[in-house]
Amino acid sequence: MDEGLSLDRVQVRLNGRVLLSLDLAVAPGTVTSVMGPSGSGKSTLLGAVMGTLSAPFEVLGRIRLDGADLSGRPPEARGIGILFQDDLLFPHLSVGANLAFGLPPGLRGRAARRAAVDAALSEIGMAGFAARDPGSLSGGQKIRVALMRTLLSEPRALLLDEPFSSLDADLRAQMRTMVFARARARTLPVLMVTHDAEDAAAADGPVLRLG
């Protein structure tokens, strides 16, 4: 399979000890859930895919995105977006500047970038929020901005690291629907790490258990 995100006999080792060993393929527009108790290697998996594991960790095997081998590429050159449990909006930047941080540098001109940010805000029902302080947003608004910031960077795959576990039940269902819908609309392969069975059920895709 050339399209999507694939992990081909991937092993992560630490000082010779195997932490994680798996094979999986995530097709565009689908969500694969990885479940497991804490310590089963979920965050190691994300680190391997993101390219943030450094020595003494060793990653063996191949990680491919749309056919291209990602081995050895730094995180910023992988084209993979990530959403964590916390929104991690940069607290020193305004909402608009956070979104602009994700815009590709190829989009030139202050006005054009400003327009792209405003359009993105409108898309998530937050028109006029560009100058706001991220600290003043509600939990749901923060997640929407974080998601939009990631999507603006035009990733070719999306990783979700327990993205909804800090939310209460109501908001959780709502945000889940939004994230999955937008990822599908862009036909992104999504790899979600979670310990919440409801997340996995809502993802409506393959479920992999670690540990």
């Binding site: 092993q11 990653v59 081995s71 910023e76 977006g81 990530i82 990733p155």
Partner: protein, 579 residues
Amino acid sequence: MTDVRSQGAARHRPQRRPARVLPAVPMLATAFLLLPVGAGVLGTLAPAFGVLPAAGVMQPGLGAFADLAAWPGLPDAVRLSLVAGGVSTLLSLAVVTAVLAAWSGTRTFAAVRALLSPLLSVPHAAAAFGLAFLIAPSGWILRALSPWATGFDRPPDWLIVQDPWGLTLIAGLVAKEVPFVMLMALAALGQADAGRAMTVARSLGYGRMTAWVKVVFPQVYRQIRLPVYVVLAFSMTVVDVAIVLGPNTPPSLAVQAVKWMGDPDLAMRLRAAAAAVLQLALVLGALAAWWLGERAVAALGRRWIAAGGRGRREVWARRAALGIAGLSAAAVLGGLAVLALWSVAGFWAFPDPWPSGLTMQNWTRHAMTLNATVAETAVIAAVSTLIALTLAIGCLEAEMRHGLRLGAAGLWLLYLPLLVPQVAFLPGLSTAMLLAGVQGGTAAVTAAHVLFVFPYVFLALGDPWRAWDRRYGTVASALGAGPDRVLWSVRLPMLLAPLLTAAAVGVSVSVGQYLPTLLIGGGRVQTLTTDAVALASGGDRRAIGVFALAQTAAALVPFALAIGLPRLIYARRGGMRHG
């Protein structure tokens, strides 16, 4: 496993190609600390053993030491160094331990904490002058008590300041070292799980102070050992505080060595080198003794803990701890107030508690010298801090990107310029610099300051840097930002407050330096500290008030900026207000 590799799978370390400069920064910083200290110690050892080619001396032997041994003041000078250093370090550690045991985690303690930064930034020399102005026979305390309580209408003939036992010197050192040890202990406390350990111990029936000393102190002390060693080495060899508060017949060994260093007579310079080497040996011996003492106390402590005493009557101990700490804070702050008063005092006769008039004349009289000195002080402090901050950021960034973490050995190295007595390596360093063709000007003094500024800046920045949530970096990378953009657009702006605090610490360390300015500058570079200390023997209280206050302001203003600027810059960023 082999299966995976035989299939031709790529084996790679998922790490980016290292940049060229960054990985070299830790090595550079290490060399920067190690070389000057090493060269300096060698450059001091050689003349002590009769080798000073620069002055045409080539008589290898122990002549300088024999000469030193024949100096009648030697036993007193040595005793003073050992007693002042040992006692003030023990007292500072005891006060900090008692206050933390009695009050940490309470509301009272929040007040103690708030006083810490300003107390810490007051330069040693200014604090020493302030203490002298408080407790001298003609000082403010006796004025306030006279004549109604004491009956004095002229200052009594008491030797309080510069007493031969060095008690005032010890008091001055304790007042300045308590905030430093406290700050280090607080940083260590943040890493110990003190809250829950205390809850467990107290639920087992232990009193608050007993519980803290038995359960938390061992963890904290392990972390603050090196800073305590620094305090010991510093207190034994301090020069500026000892000139102001210590006896002068004879003075402490370090002060006497500096006096001899300035002597035009070559024999005196060789004797000075011998004294500096003896001072180094004394410090090493004291450190070894302290290390043995740690072991003895640990053994006794284990027995004490195993005996299971709960220690109940602690009310008075708690009050005493707070009282002593309060007294040492009051000595510094009260001293500053009296300095300020003298700097604007007109006629002020004993025993009047207040001057009969206030005037700006003292300031205008010194304005010319003051302006030039302030400018020189500011340039040296700013440049040395900037260099130190750049090195520190480089080291921490290399640690983050390439995992080049400073090990235990690296930590000792960081403390090296603070552990080796200044008097034992600065003269040699100045000789080495002359040999290398470096003239002792402002640039050389600035470079020497970096040696002492860098360790403090690194320590101040290290914890917040490492505590920074690395997921912000991951998110920024995933958005396409390379490591440099992550550093400049995300990490540094987010760490603005700790960066400015580290810079303020650096400036206050530089402003407070006395010996590096004096010895490396060859007497040609004048800062507020050298000017203030030079006034000590003259006894012009108004001039001392002016210069000591200016020195304090030079150290304090950056702290105020470090607190104020981030609030101003991030006034509309709620997420930047904490952490």
